[in-house]
Amino acid sequence: MVGEVIIPVNKLLDPPQVYRVIILDIRLPELLACIVVGANLSVAGAVMQSLFRNPLAEPYVTGTASGALLGALIGLLISITSRIGSSFSIVLMPVFSFIGAMVAIALVLTFGRGGWLSLVLAGIGVSIMFSSIVMMIDTYLLTIIPTLPAIVYLLFGTVSGINWNEDLAMACVSLPTMAYIIVSAREVNLLMMSDEVAQAGGVNPGFSRAIFITLTGLLTAISVSFTGIIGFVGLVTPHLTRLLLKSSDNSRVIPLSIISGSTIMLYANVVSKVVIPGVVMPITAITSLFGVPVLLILLRGVGHG
């Protein structure tokens, strides 16, 4: 059990009260968040790469995560500045985050139609635009409520400070969404091949693509709402999984991505705590450090056709 306080393994079975609180109220919620968020982002990445037939597509690169973060902050802003009360942020943040994710993906799909690079460039553009607005809102929130460091953490992408209620909210949205995607994985395969093949196979490509995009938006939004942007897990995990399976069959890639994505997030969480002893680094710094080289390798591969 690694963190700012290191809990010896021999104390795990019968921990003293202080360790018990750390384990039950801090470490286990973080652990569960890592599993759910890693799975969510990986499934969203695997589905996006298949739907857009673009190896670089994932929530972070397509700007979906930035849209979700802006939406989450707007939800937070509304809940703390209106009469509703900040306790409703657990509902408002995911709802607005989902709206933000869908707006971002709609913009990217509108302006990024010219091929794989075009989609990525549109994603970068949308990300920069939303990140600028996020900075403005964040600065405003910190000005009016100086004792609100959680918002800063949200920008960084971290599971620190997550609680059981937030884990429960994530699980309630993520589990049925992932279950539907797994059951429909063969439809994703058809869309991955070509739209004509999908249509002749009885799948309406426009409608079906819209459903799956909505579901990836949902998985991204629920993750970003509570942990902020965690980059490149959605990019790297599906590619590693395909490499392991030597197949892009989504009926196997998606379930295995859940396991590998969760594992990557758990390791990234540990690394984020031990890289500088006593300092908890944002997880996204760790995932991006390992994810960007993969992105560059993929860019080189795609660039060479």
Binding site: P55, M192, M193, G201, G202, S248
Partner: protein
Amino acid sequence: MGSYAVRFVNASIGYDEPIIRDIMLNIPRPGLTTILGPNGSGKTTMLRALIKYARIFGGYVYVDGKSVDSIPIRDLPRYMSYSPAEINPQVILTVRDIMRSARGGDGWVSDEDINDTLRFLGIQDLVDRMFNELSTGQKRLVLIARALVSKAPLLLLDEPTSNLDLGNKYRVISILRKIVDERGITVITAGHDIDLALSSDWVVAIKDGELLAMGSPDDIINEDTLSKLYGINIRVLRLNGHRLIYVE
């Protein structure tokens, strides 16, 4: 069941605007029909109209006596299966996975049907090979097998012999004949292959979105029709029952 597998009745078909205009055409069943025409003439658009992927601006298109407008997309596999010229090259699937992605009228196809179909086409040894590592000829056969495994009465194949060497081309043509002759299925292909047209039961000649002619290979593969179709002077010599086609 009528005697026509497909009927185009004053049909205008396209995407943003019509590419095929006011076409009248009846394709009999069973049999192998090849749609010939220059690039951009609307051959693929005609196939796409059948799978509802192209828009019907006017007139009617019937499959098995039923207007395609009235067939819900989810029911299309009951009526037909479709094989594109190629699929997304990033797809890394085994031949078995490619076959498993086919749907018939009763849902996803079974492993037993997959094995039977691959055996029927003589490509059962490819079942565990990666699709992206196959030769172009083998890929075409697998895509034809994928169309066939759904057990639909109508197979639509877009350019099934393009980019194939002579040996593979004749292998594909003989397999299409086998499918039609032994299974009584209607196969409609679109492409540029005169040899495939010569092996077909019917040939449809399309030019600039209009029907130029339809008939048996003897009716269509002649100097007059081919010259009109492609806008160049084409000569057809007959030698020991075979045709030698060249451009003057």
